[in-house]
Amino acid sequence: MITVQTADLIRLLPELVLTGFAILVMLFEPFLPTGRRRLLGWFALVGVFGAGVAAVWTSLAPGLAFGGAVAADRFSLFFIYLFLLVAALTLLGSMDYLNRDNIQHGEFYALVLLATVGMCFMAASTELILIFLGLEISSLSTYILAGFKRHDPLSNEASLKYFLLGSFATAFFLYGIAFVYGLMGTTNLLVLSERLSQSSHWSGLARVALVMMFVGLAFKLSTVPFQVWTPDVYQGAPAPVTAFLSTGPKAAAFAILLRVFLGGLASAGPLSFWVIWVSAALTMCLGNLAALWQSNVKRMLAYSSIAHAGYVLVGVAAGGPEGTSSVLYYLAAYSLMNVGAFVLIAYLAGTGERWMQIDDYTGLGYERPGIAACLAVFLLSLAGIPTTAGFLAKFYLFRAAIHSHLIGLTVLAVLNSVVSVYYYLRPVVAMYMREGKTEASNAIVPWAVRAVLAVTVVGIFYLGLYPNLLAGLASLAASPLP
């Protein structure tokens, strides 16, 4: 019997606040007239800020909670802040979208909050079962979010596909955990790493367990060959949800990967290293090559996010403090630019997301200079052009990889990033180099969305020119891991 102490609760405070607000959002909804449900979005946003404040409190009392099941350390706090940022930007970016597409329901905000809770658990747990629960909480919420446009067959398809493949993948993860428990008699990562370090031998079954857990995560990370769902789901889901999906849960899955594969199961060394190496190489190449052929911006960005997962895996393969901190930096930079890009295209696309082709952006650079400039910044940052966050993120990543003597993988990664320039420039070409006017230029961009754009663009340049603060935080956050 575990007795709950105040310290335990404080170490879990952000998650508690988020859950509380999610429940309140759902409770309030029936009392609000349909026209005013947008207020719930603001309320949820208050919840996210509340959780941010709570996280400050948590950070003052770091340590393990609930008998070592949850670790409130710098690593988890870094991720919690990242998730809160992503959630806040998603909320801001979706309120007007829901109005426009006539799907303004309170559940949306509650689900975003709950998904965030799940992600926080994924990053903070040191207990495999709890990690699995976090994975499930966030997955179930995002399955529904992906299908939030109930009357849109594409959205339905996205939800169903995500759900079927996703539950299959989490089953793999769970099966892996079961193997681990059967072999080692524990699911606690700290205990596990101790026991594993004593026995130098990795049995065949343990390898199977490791690979199974990796498969379960690989689905969330959408790494090759588990990426097949990604373009369809990202395309079908409402674009602000895609913004969330492509950043939050992905970052959370990387948190697990770091904690489990570099932390708990670190003694598996060469096996997990090669699994990660191969999947990084395949993911980068396939993501970029497939993105070259897309004419739909959303699909293109979906493939690009696959490619970015591949780059991040290079950092994971590099390992060590450098590798981990470069992954953290990359995830933060990537979240900013990807959320910004998806939220922006959500509004350019108009009601029902009709204008999603690259050609729809023709002449946008002159019709809507500000908006086009923002999109260009996101794309150039994704491409890794200097002075943007994308460049320094890649720089840190490649430095860590070279430091770990992964020269082949680094060369592959830099060549891939050259290829990616081609497709990131295609919308830029349409916006600035072709004459014309399309419906996308009539897009209404509400001021909540402008706030998202401002935060992300400023963030991108800040991280691209003044990296010291975040890089320092990232290397502090990497310290709890060996």
Partner: protein, 513 residues
Amino acid sequence: MSWLLSHLLSVLIFLPLAGAAVIAFLRRGSEHLIRWVALFSSLLTFAFALGAFVGFSSTRTGMQFVEFYPWMVLPPVNYHVGVDGLSIMLILLTAFLTPLAVLTSWVSITHRVKEFFLFLLALETGMIGVFAALDLILFFLFWEAMLIPMYFLIAVWGHERRVYAAVKFILFTMAGSALMLVGILYLYNLTGTFDFPTILNHLDDARLLSAQAERWLFLAFFVAFAIKVPLFPFHTWLPDAHVEAPTAGSVILAGVLLKMGTYGLLRFCLPLFPQASQAFAPLISVLAIVGILYGALVAMVQPDLKKLVAYSSVAHLGFVVLGIFAFNVNGIEGAIYQMFNHGVSTGALFILVGMLYDRRHTRLISEFGGLATPLPVYSTFFMIVALSSLGLPMLNGFVGEFLIIVGAYRARALYAALAAVGVVLAAVYLLWMYQRVFLGKVTNEKNLRLPDCDWREKTILAVIVAVILAMGVYPKPFLSRMDRSVASVLQRLEKNRVLVTSTVSDRQAERAR
């Protein structure tokens, strides 16, 4: 004033960007004001660059006007800038060509004027930054960031196939520089710093690099620079980019961007990897000679004036590379001098072709003939510039080419002989073109009533011709500033040459035993 002196390079780097920022806040309609702001800020930059050039001491070794501020903590990347005899020349060239580029675009750019000048000035910041940076990451940052304004200049204001040319340009350059980034990171891993002078010291102190690693690193850097030069098989992006770019873009491309390649070779490849440089020198010299002959031959048969000038660049830059890899004072000084010359002369040729294009909207040689009759002033200027480009004594081109051939002769007589053939070919394609376009009777009625140069065009051309003459007659102020820098590069090479031979002879001695 003392603040200005201690921050001269930063002022030079960021002044154009400040001009661009001012333009960003001007109304789209106030095109005239935008042009004047662009001209003013680029002229002011030139004034500072000239000040730096005059103030540059030719008797001191090492970097001058050094500024150093910490920037990134981990890994340590610093804002470290400074100039030596090589970079001061190129900064001066950049600052000289940009106002000319602004002036050439004065009337020919009528479309999206604000963005055009904004990008042009941003580009100048990138270019000066590349030449001044002494931290490898800072260098890389400017090197890559500069691509974006250039990309827009070609792709928005270019001719028919502009988007294709611009994308090709950016992908070629990035492919090269991506590998260079890996090389830079590898060097960091060895030495723990990105600071170029410190890396040089580290490489001196300990034999950190194995011969094999040095060769790979050399190639990683070399390919990036060779693409930019462009050296013979990497040149295919150049004709497209030059022909499709607007006149100002071509001037900057030919005048400055190509020099970044040769600058990189001299600044980084030779000092960092002296042994690999020497090992690859025969191969590179051969490629350079192929470039000289191939560029000249292809230029000869071009029906399009701009393409002709573009291919002549391939040939001229071949000379520069040949001079660099001759590894002696004459060769390298000639190469640096020729970099400057090529910037002025080829820039001028592009400006001249652009003026013709503004009048007739074609660049086909067959459309012209006997232009000397309706356009006497223009034809005279064209003649002088063409003669400078083909290396007539008393004009600037002669000094550079002569020095390079002397240098190449010392390295290997055959190289010099082949390069001299290139000089002859240059005379053939330029004079033959001149004959077809300007001499004889007017062949096309449309050309009869063409207006001759106006005051703006005359100013641009007169300034250029003055520089061409001055550099041809009195090269000393330029050469004297290079002496020390060239000597220090050669010193490094010389020191390592001894090492090469000694290790070889050691090995032979061992084998004999």
